[in-house]
């Protein structure tokens, strides 16, 4: 059989597909971060904790109330979004006049509190969450066995990312949003309720994290650590893509997922640092990120 760099091409396709699946999570999470940073100028370190919260809400709905996956897909992001709105109204909104650093520290502290609380009550090994019946099993693609659920994750994440991009770049509401990012005072002078828009944006951004959490629940254990394991990589994704760039965050998310997948084949030992190596290189060559603009 012919090989590419010593790997059969079929195995390579499999690995690329897996990379794409992991990239879907990176994309969903970095999208939320980018939306929040673009609008609020807040580096939301609580994003990982809110992703974990989404997964836990789904798990709690299932075990406490018997509410299944599909409803959780709708309800968990709503709960997480509502939690985000409360955070924004009571805490974050007091920090907008201060340096970025304060928002970062506040959200980092919140993340530690939320994670610590869940760790205290549920331990670190996590809780099992079953794959919904409709998506059990898988397809034999010839070069690999693709679990139906993983396929669904890619589709769902692509749809959400595209819809978000469309809403922000191509609709009137998105235009207001972008305008308010550029010059909030002027936009407010036109009679648009900018504080409300900011709150809604934060709520939406963290709801995306909650959604990613529900999508992740059947693949990973629902564990208090799931967010902190992922968040640093996602931050690297956002930095590489360019802070605040929505398209950049999404494309970089998928791209780095693919790259990480390839590393797992050619040099597995480095698979958890490859993203950071790329980040360092990108920062050296293009400090604003691949898709960012200099401010």
């Amino acid at each position: 059989m012919s090989t590419i760099f010593g790997i059969p091409p079929q195995a390579l396709f499999g690995q690329l597909l897996l990379g794409l699946i992991n990239g879907s999570f990176y994309a969903l999470l970095s999208l939320g971060l980018a939306v929040i940073f673009g609008m609020l100028n807040v580096i939301n370190f609580a994003h990982g904790a809110l992703y974990m919260l989404g997964a836990f809400v789904a798990w709690l709905l299932l075990t406490m109330a018997g509410i299944g996956y599909w409803w959780a897909l709708l309800l968990a992001p709503l709960v997480v979004g509502a939690f985000g709105v409360v955070l924004e109204k009571t805490l974050l909104s007091r920090l907008y006049k201060l340096d970025h650093l304060y928002g970062l520290l506040l959200t980092f502290g919140l993340a530690l509190i939320v994670e610590g609380a869940f760790r205290h009550f549920y331990g670190v090994s996590g809780q099992p969450y079953p794959i919904p019946d409709l998506l059990r099993g898988g397809q034999n693609l010839g070069f690999m066995f693709l679990p139906n659920y993983r396929g669904w994750v890619v589709v769902a994440s692509l749809v959400v990312c595209l819809a978000t991009w469309y809403a922000i770049e191509r609709t009137k509401l998105g235009a207001y949003l972008r305008a308010a990012t550029e010059n909030p005072v002027l936009v407010q002078a036109f009679g648009i309720n900018v504080p409300l828009m900011i709150t809604a944006t934060y709520g939406f951004g963290v709801a995306l994290a909650g959604l990613a959490g529900v999508l992740a629940a059947p693949i990973y254990q629902v564990s208090p650590l799931m967010g902190s394991n992922l968040i640093i990589v996602v931050f690297a994704v956002v930095v590489i893509g360019g802070m605040g760039s929505i398209l950049g965050a999404v494309l970089t998310g998928y791209g780095l997922g693919l790259l990480e997948g390839l590393t797992k084949v050619f040099y597995p030992e480095a698979s958890n640092i490859v993203v950071f190596v790329i980040m360092a290189v990108v920062l050296l060559i293009k400090p604003a990120g691949l898709f960012g603009r200099e401010r």
């Binding site: 996590g126 809780q127 650590l225 030992e269 958890n272």
Partner: protein, 404 residues
């Protein structure tokens, strides 16, 4: 008459004097036990606070005092980082007068702490770490390896699976001291039993997605995929192996080389059923183990893992040795511990080799099907008792250079 009186008085004085001398031999007038482990990361459930609870239970059983001096238990989180672990243990020994360090999962951290305790002549009771090097080339006169080690896991699970016909192996290995040693030890046992190793892939510690590695294992065509990892990593890899249908096809079998009760609890029987594993302890084996475990469960809400039960057993033995030696001086107590057999709810007639290996029976278990389990924590069926001498390496085999 007067002479006899004088002699009697002298004898009495001698007796009092020696009793005082004995009492004076507890350093700092307190026996301080330091439980050092992962309290927040992927290994926190298999040891963590549970190990500290188990140690406190051992202390309570002797009334919180030894040779008339109080016993104190402290604990800390080494975050799975060898540098933090060795710094903490140095601080504990030098500044806080800690007399014994307990647990220390993660072989990487344990190897670092072993160097510190060797230098300071402090007793080190290892439960969580797995690598057999701790009683091999890295052995120490005051180091004790208690609950299990990589060699026992390899003998138990490795040989059993080869005997069942799993001849060709592929390893999915955690990329640090523990994983490497478990892979090496298991590969040796597999080859000894007539099997072959077709390959291995090294995954970083605390990996979120194992599917890529599992796929490589699948395409290797090996009959058995040996998981040389632990805790959260094992849970994730087993869960994802089931998702990718690795085992359903019937061509490949998953061998969890180190599986704790807490892992099975987290996975659920639906996913974990029929896994074969080796353990040093299971709560539901006899009345003594059940009684102790129920007491532990009342405090923590969970049944103990072998690491937590071993923490109890080793501290109990350590306190007995202090009582017998009349001092808490490290090397003296270590010698005493090696003289005495270990007899408690954890081990029957356990013996300690000169390299610090506590030799006791190990158990080969199969995870029950959901239909066989009577409820939470009813997870294992013990299918074989592996005699201690078979499970663990002899002093000569271990490669330890200590006299003995």
């Amino acid at each position: 008459m007067i002479a006899r009186l004088l002699a009697g008085a002298a004898l009495a004085a001698l007796a009092v004097g020696s009793a005082q001398a004995q009492q004076g031999k507890i350093s700092g007038d307190v026996v301080k036990i330091g439980v050092l482990n992962d309290r927040s990361g992927l290994y926190a459930d298999l040891g963590g606070e549970g190990s500290a609870v188990a140690v406190r239970m051992a202390v309570e059983e002797v009334g919180g005092k030894i040779l008339g001096k109080p016993i104190e238990v402290v604990s800390a989180d080494h975050q799975n980082k060898p540098d933090i672990g060795s710094n903490l243990s140095r601080e504990w020994i030098d500044r806080d007068g800690v007399d014994v360090i307990v647990d220390v999962p993660n072989s990487g951290v344990a190897l670092a702490v072993q160097e510190v305790t060797r230098e300071k002549k402090t007793i080190f009771l290892m439960q969580g770490p797995a690598t057999s090097r701790l009683t091999g080339d890295a052995c120490s006169p005051t180091g004790f390896h208690w609950a299990y080690d990589t060699r026992a896991l390899a003998v138990g699970t490795g040989q059993a699976i080869v005997k069942e016909g799993g001849k060709s192996w592929f390893f999915l290995t955690a990329d640090y001291a523990f994983g490497h040693q478990l892979e090496t030890d298991t590969a040796a046992q597999v080859k000894k039993a007539g099997g072959t190793v077709v390959g291995a892939v090294r995954a970083p510690l605390n990996t979120a997605d194992f599917s890529s590695f599992l796929l490589q294992a699948q395409s290797s065509g090996a009959q058995v995929i040996g998981l040389a990892n632990a805790g959260g990593d094992t849970i994730t890899s087993i869960k994802q192996a089931s998702e990718f249908g690795l085992t359903q096809s019937g061509q490949q079998k998953l061998a969890g080389l180190l599986i704790f009760l807490s892992d099975v609890h987290a996975l659920g029987l639906q996913v974990a059923q029929d896994l074969v594993l080796t353990t040093g302890f299971y709560w539901d084996m006899d009345d003594e183990k059940r009684a102790w475990s129920e007491k532990y469960k009342a405090k923590t809400g969970k049944m103990p893992t072998m690491v937590q039960a071993g923490s109890y057993s080793s501290v109990k033995h350590y306190l007995k040795a202090i009582e017998a030696a009349g001092t808490d001086d490290g090397p003296t107590v270590a010698a005493k511990m090696k003289e005495m057999p270990v007899n408690d709810m954890f081990a029957k007639n356990g013996k300690i080799l000169p390299n610090g290996r506590m030799v006791h029976d190990m158990y080969l278990a199969r995870v029950k099907k959901p239909s066989e389990s009577k409820g939470p924590w009813d997870y294992y069926e013990i299918i074989r008792t592996i005699p201690g001498d078979e499970a663990f390496a002899t002093m000569a085999e271990s490669g330890c250079k200590l006299p003995g």
